[in-house]
């Protein structure tokens, strides 16, 4: 593990701690899908992305993970993180526009890939070197508008666009493959004209490699295989982790499990 990888893993650890703190607020949080994408967000925001690049959280219900990133960057304070779910807080359950770096309100699924495609197209038309990263949920791919956008970006060869699919395999009530299956996902994305890479979404080194610009000139889809609730044993791989309210004892247990798993191989 090189220094950069270690640094990113430390960031991801802190993102998860903040997510758990938010889930321990009065209203709870979409904790499972926020924990599953923590390594992806850490890798993107603290290594891959340059200042000229753009990030869109299409799976807006992972707002706690995004707020954790904002706190890690110092764009919001730690005290504000703890305001999540409390009256008057601007940290809503889905990210509102107006927060630092939040250009569009997301949370209604199926919007991000179109928005990202428009931005990537604008960059191409203006001859600007901008990469646009969209983080989509896997359940989100059941929205038809996503496939309109995938078809469009593939057709236009929008090489500046990258969609990362947080493939934790679960949605609110069931496994995606039990609800409306997405497989063979890589083959589908490839067939839509995307360069497609599959990667362990908790392996930072592998993520860094997978997020490198594609040489093909095609838009890039990274299927990041993740575990819902990653980092907390009693949440991992459980559909019920989708939305949870952590009591004080549960929060303590969750943080202890997170600490215990720190440093383990991905």
């Amino acid at each position: 593990m090189n220094a950069t990888t270690g640094r990113i893993r430390d960031v991801a650890y802190r993102l998860r701690r903040r997510v758990l703190r938010m889930a321990a607020g009065p209203l709870g949080a979409h904790v499972g899908g926020s924990l599953s994408c923590a390594d992806i967000l850490a890798t993107l925001h603290f290594d891959v992305m340059r200042t000229c690049d753009t990030f869109l959280l299409s799976k807006g219900h992972a707002a706690p993970a995004l707020y954790a990133v904002l706190a890690e960057k110092g764009l919001i304070g730690e005290a504000e993180v703890d305001s999540y779910g409390r009256p008057g807080s601007r940290l809503l359950g889905h990210p509102p526009r107006g927060l630092p770096g939040v250009e569009f309100p997301t949370g209604s699924l199926g919007h991000g890939v179109s928005l990202g495609a428009g931005m990537a197209l604008a960059a191409a038309m203006a001859g600007r070197d901008e990469r646009v990263f969209v983080l989509a949920g896997d359940g989100e791919l059941q929205e038809g508008s996503v496939w309109e956008a995938l078809m469009f970006a593939g057709h236009r060869r929008l090489g500046g666009l990258t969609v990362v699919v947080d493939r934790n395999g679960m949605q609110l009530t069931a496994a995606t493959e039990e609800c409306v299956g997405l497989e063979p996902l890589a083959a589908r994305l490839t067939a839509f004209g995307w360069e497609t890479r599959e990667v362990d979404g908790h392996d930072v080194e592998a993520l860094r490699a997978a997020l490198a610009p594609p040489g093909s000139g095609l838009p890039l889809a990274v299927i990041a295989r993740t575990v819902k609730g990653r980092g907390v044993r009693f949440l991992e791989g459980k559909v019920s982790s989708h939305y949870a309210v952590l009591t004080e004892p549960l929060l303590r247990r969750a943080l202890a499990q997170l600490d215990a798993g720190r440093g383990a191989a991905p």
Binding site: P105, H111, L121, A122, M125, S145
Partner: protein, 403 residues
Amino acid sequence: MTAEESPREVYWRALVDLAARDPRVVCVDTDMGGLERTFARAFPDRYLNVGIAEANMMGVAAGLAARGFVPYVHTMATFATTRAAEQLKLDVAAVGLPVRVVASHAGLSAAHFGTTHYALEDLAVVRAVGGLSAVVPADAAEIPAALSALHALPGPAYLRLGRQAVPGPHRGAHPFVLGEAVRLRDGDDVTIVACGPYPVLMALEAAAALAAEGIGARVLEIHTLVPFDSGAVLAAASQTAGIVTVEEHRAQGGLGDAVAEATGAVVPCPVVRVAVTGPVGTAVRGHRELLEEAGVSADAVRHAAGRVSALRKGQVMPSPSTGDRTRDHVASLFRRVLRTDAVGVDDDFFTLGGNSLLAIELLDAIEQDLGVQITAHTFYRNTTVAELARSVERARETVTSEG
């Protein structure tokens, strides 16, 4: 520009002119036909056909606008506002990006295309979503000026266009000023407020007929629904007996509601809506005929304005009866069967050129459209529009009391 030139053609030219002046203009098309041989020829690098995918179109346009372009997106009014409603609401309106939604085939202008292509609730969506300026040109001549005015805005906008050429121009030398009603005719008894090509035409026709009856009807054209010219409407509310609105839209959420909202709390006055209230035709008709069948006609405007103006003379306004609607509907069936526009309420079927075969056609149409059977015996004793409408009402009451 000729009176019968289609609004689309006028619009296409105006958009090309605009793009020549502003390099930020991008034309986003959903394979509508026309733009590929107009805009795309002039500016191939700024023409983007996203295919038949309206939701994606709206999102892509928002992304383009977020990065400095001014996208003009093109689809039919119904798809712009109901299929892509959420993208319109969240990606465009909520963020305030300068996306211009050019919504064609509005109202019933897609006539023979049928019910899937009518847009009678688009303005309600646009008004309720908020944040979009909304303009409905009354004739082709108004389109270039409207386009220039909308282009200058920093936020999103909605431009509602029809499919067919309609008679016009209506507005003479009045300049187009965004957000300002146009007074097309003076009058102090009653005000008719109209939005859109046929509604404005019908308002003017009704006002002319009312003048012959000694009633002075003011006619206001509202081309800008958002922002709304409350001042002109409030002046009408205080200076005349009341307001009749006429629009190519359902009564819910369109012009009539905008007028009622503006007047209600400030200068309460009667606001009678002439809007699409009836069933919308499911057989091939002309644009105007469809509107008339659906309840939007010059006759309906005239009746409503006559009732409202009576208030000024201290009379009690007769309730807006189903009888009036039935009379309008029967008149529209006369027009259809007799293939003439010149039908008055007291005109006799046979004087207008009807014969026994056409009478059978008429009675069939009444049964189909209005759901009542009129016997030949009844018909031959009630051959004017008004008489026959009363017969229909009586037959309905019988059905109801028996049911």
